[in-house]
């Protein structure tokens, strides 16, 4: 399958230079590749929330559910529990799943349900034109905080490792090869995969220059080591302006998946009436 076949007629409305293009191109390429490698495209369902990130489902000719703000994951969990053979990929923004829908993110990781979540982490609300998000650095001057925020950012990877995610990685919208590698591995990983993508918003928080100077790729040889992964994850806290920013896969372990543990019962009989009668007889 040629990746171009996965496009739609929808007019692309991301700003020129938007980091979402890299995510889109990487995902499209990976889905086309995987279609050959045993993950048929018909079995893929994309789920998004609301925000610039979410438009991606309009641009991909793949099964999708364009959900509402913050509610990417509960829809995805319903889809996966409804049909565990589907390959469910979630796109979410930092406002989407770290503010409005943080509860669902923690529970998805806690359950280790077999989903992939790609976080379009531009650290600013783009579609609502420039307010701070849970990952904006302290002092961020946005339209709702003209004097600068008085709160520290969340480190989403630290939250994820503490909550039980079994695949944790970080990519950057300058660096499509790494994104492709990470997306492919995250999708193939069995369990909850979380990929933080430093996705630059050129209109409201252009971090290209900062990131370009500070990012570096790590190749961890001990991916199952919680302490090492945590150290790496904590080496940049989304706030300080000096530390190098590691990219790559930080953590991957095998653990029981909720979607496989969750009882998928076949009814005891196809005769529903007889079973209802049985229940009622016990109530006489």
């Amino acid at each position: 399958m040629n990746p171009n076949e996965l496009g739609t007629y929808a007019k692309n409305t991301w700003c020129p230079g938007c980091g979402n293009f890299s995510i889109f191109n990487a995902v499209r390429a990976v889905l086309a590749e995987l279609n050959y490698d045993g993950t048929p495209i018909d079995n893929v369902v994309l789920v998004s929330g609301i925000g610039c990130h979410a438009k991606i489902v309009d641009y991909l000719n793949v099964n999708s559910f364009y959900s509402i703000h913050g509610r990417t994951l509960p829809v995805a969990m319903g889809i996966k529990l409804g049909n565990p053979d589907l390959n469910v990929i979630c796109f979410s923004g930092d406002g989407d799943c770290l503010a409005e829908g943080l509860d669902h993110l923690i529970f998805a990781a806690k359950r280790n349900i077999d989903l992939t979540l790609i976080l379009h982490n531009n650290r600013v609300y783009g579609l609502t034109t420039g307010q701070y998000t849970p990952t904006s650095p302290k002092g961020f001057k946005g339209k709702s905080t003209p004097l600068g925020t008085e709160e520290f950012p969340i480190n989403p990877l630290e939250l994820m490792i503490a909550s039980g995610a079994t695949f944790i990685a970080r990519g950057y919208s300058h660096g499509i090869d790494l994104l492709k590698r990470l997306f492919r591995e995250a999708i193939l990983h069995k369990g909850f995969s979380f990929v933080d993508v430093l996705q630059v918003c050129v209109s409201y928080f252009n971090m290209y220059e900062v990131y370009n100077k500070r990012v570096y790729e790590v190749k961890s040889s001990d991916l199952g080591n919680f302490e090492e992964a945590l150290k790496l994850i904590r080496s940049w806290n989304y706030n300080d302006s000096e530390s190098p920013i590691p990219l790559g896969k930080f953590y991957e372990i095998e653990a029981p998946q909720f979607d496989r543990l969750f009882p998928g019962y076949e009814p005891h009989s196809v005769d529903t009436d007889a079973m209802i009668k049985d229940v009622l007889d016990n109530l006489i």
């Binding site: 319903g78 409804g82 529970f107 969750f262 229940v279």
Partner: protein, 553 residues
């Protein structure tokens, strides 16, 4: 004896509900039709709990203030309920805990606590002892009782039988309940009847966060999940509940959710999503006393207009409000069928009284309920999830479908589910939703959306749990009853027909503003008078009779 009622009172933890249900089973085995009201505060141990079990030779769905017998586990039961006794009533009490000084009622002292102590039994088994005593009082034979207990006591049956027998032997005989010549029916709660109706109509998934009075439905379906092949999920909150149900629905599993007012508040954004993305879902909304936390274990009918209007934007919804177990079964199934046929949210608007009361249930009388298929895509050409059709209903398909991208969307969208801001498409989509509502209204002409009982010049207009009390009071006073089973789309024609030739219509509701009267007025139908109760308790038969005399029917 046509009708008999017994009140069982004690503290939370005494097993008052279980004792009431057991007495219900005993009377049901004698051929009686049962209704049990269960009253309990919001706590786990202590507080005052009571059940009123009422038995009759015909179907009933209401309780009475006056009772024929009180079973008192503690002093508080006597103090709180002695005014329910008449000259012909009886009382049986734990003589180790209760004094009935000054009561002229015929009484039976039962050394329940002593018996439990002697037998080394658990305090909860006091209720088995009382049930033994009750059967002796009521002239029910020991072997009959033994059979019922063996069937319905799950644990430590030998010890329980021993204790029941001691209770039986320690009591005296006051009167005799005759065995009726009619079959014994199962007894169940409204929640259980709702669950069975949903299952019958093809339910495959149930998602809920615990909340009184809906938790019983969650527990019933979770317990029966393996039998019926259900996926039952209890997620992090009601927001996730609704959205998870949408996920199930998107891949073709018929799903329902259950909650009460506060939980439903959290579901409203997902409800509106169901409207826009045309996702079938059933919502069991068990009303209780509001606003906010209100009186969480008590009843109410204050959320009708909330259910009618919840969610931003305009979209069709189907709302049914069953008034007893048979209706709960039938209309819950119809709700699931209609949700899928029209790809809309459908409500089972219930309340604590319907959800948690126990009823005799006759499935044969509930109506012919079948699972109906949604309108499925024929597999030709390119699939569009939101294709414009004359009925407004786009044929449905689910991922994975070979060679097709199935796209659901919360934004305004085109026929293929791609976001649009095109003014023509936005209005066409709105028209599509209105068209679906019209198609649904037309189909509902085949259903008894409004029921009429009796014939008179004055009628009571009722919905939901007040059905039973209205019918009984109306019979006594020579009135007619009109019951609204479907509240949306509003059955204007059916109601108008039912109201012809009437001089006066009185709405009977458990809210403080007369919500169904207001809804009727919105549809051009004026209701003359209202009887409203809003103290969290269902209306008793005596109370309704007094109030009806007050409005001069």
């Amino acid at each position: 004896m046509n009708s008999f009622s017994v009140l069982i009172g004690g503290i939370a933890g005494d097993g008052i509900n279980e004792a009431g249900v057991l007495i219900g089973h005993i009377l049901s085995h004698l051929g009686y039709r049962i209704f049990m009201y269960y009253d309990y505060p919001s706590l786990i141990r202590g507080g005052h709990n009571f059940s009123i079990v009422r038995a009759s030779n015909r179907s009933i769905a209401a309780h009475t203030d006056f009772v024929d017998l009180i079973i008192a586990f503690n002093q508080e039961t006597v103090d709180k309920h002695k005014n329910r006794l008449s000259a012909e009533s009886y009382i049986v009490y734990d003589s180790d805990k209760v004094k009935i000084d000054g009561l002229s009622t015929k009484s039976c002292d039962l050394p329940v606590s002593q018996i439990i102590k002697k037998e080394g039994a658990l305090p909860i088994m006091r209720n088995t002892c009382f049930i033994g005593g009750f059967c002796k009082l009521a002239g029910i034979s020991w072997p009959f009782l033994e059979d019922v207990l063996k069937k319905h006591i799950p644990k430590q049956i030998d010890l329980n039988l021993r204790i029941a027998l001691k209770g039986y032997e320690s009591a005296m005989n006051f009167f005799n309940i005759d065995k009726l010549n009619q079959p014994s029916l199962p007894i169940l709660t409204g929640n259980q009847a709702i669950g069975l109706g949903l299952i019958k109509a093809g339910l495959k998934a149930y998602v809920a966060y615990p909340m009184t009075p809906s938790s019983g439905l969650l527990e019933f379906l979770a317990r029966n999940a393996s039998k019926f092949g259900l996926k039952v999920v209890h997620p992090e909150n009601e927001i996730a509940v609704m959205l998870m149900a949408h996920g199930f629905s998107h891949v073709g599993l018929k799903a329902a959710v259950g909650t009460s007012g506060g939980g439903f508040c959290l579901m409203t954004e997902g409800l509106s999503l169901a409207g826009m993305a045309e996702l079938p879902v059933v919502i069991m909304l068990g009303q209780r006393t509001g606003p906010s936390t209100g009186a969480p274990t008590y009843t109410g009918q204050g959320d009708l207009h909330f259910a009618l209007n919840a969610g931003q934007g305009e979209f069709p919804r189907f709302i049914v409000s069953p008034g007893d177990a048979e209706e709960a079964y039938f209309w819950s199934g119809i709700a699931l069928n209609m949700a899928w046929k029209y790809q809309i949210p459908a409500f089972i608007l219930s309340d604590k009284s319907v959800c948690e009361s126990t009823y005799s249930f006759c499935i044969e009388e509930a109506g012919d309920l079948k699972e109906e298929d949604p309108i499925l895509w024929d597999g030709r050409g390119k699939y569009g999830r939101y294709k414009f059709m004359d009925s407004g209903i786009s044929p449905i398909a689910f991922p994975p479908t070979k060679g097709q991208a199935i796209k659901a969307n919360s934004y305004a969208h085109d026929e293929y589910g791609i976001t649009t801001e095109d003014p023509k498409l936005i209005s066409a989509l709105s028209d599509k939703r209105i068209l679906k509502e019209k198609s649904l209204s037309k189909e509902l002409e085949n259903y008894e959306t409004v029921k009429v009982y009796g014939s008179a010049k004055t009628a009571l207009l009722t919905w939901g749990s007040n059905k039973g009390v209205c019918i009984e009071a109306a019979e006594k006073l020579g009135l007619e009853v009109i019951q609204l089973l479907v509240l949306a789309p509003f059955p204007t024609n059916r109601l108008t027909e039912a109201l012809q030739d009437l001089d006066k219509v009185v709405a009977v509701e458990c809210n403080s503003t007369g919500q169904v009267a207001r809804l009727a007025a919105c549809n051009g139908i004026q209701i003359d008078d209202k009887i409203l109760k809003y103290d969290g308790r269902p209306i008793s038969l005596e109370d309704l009779e007094i109030r009806l005399r007050g409005v001069q029917v």
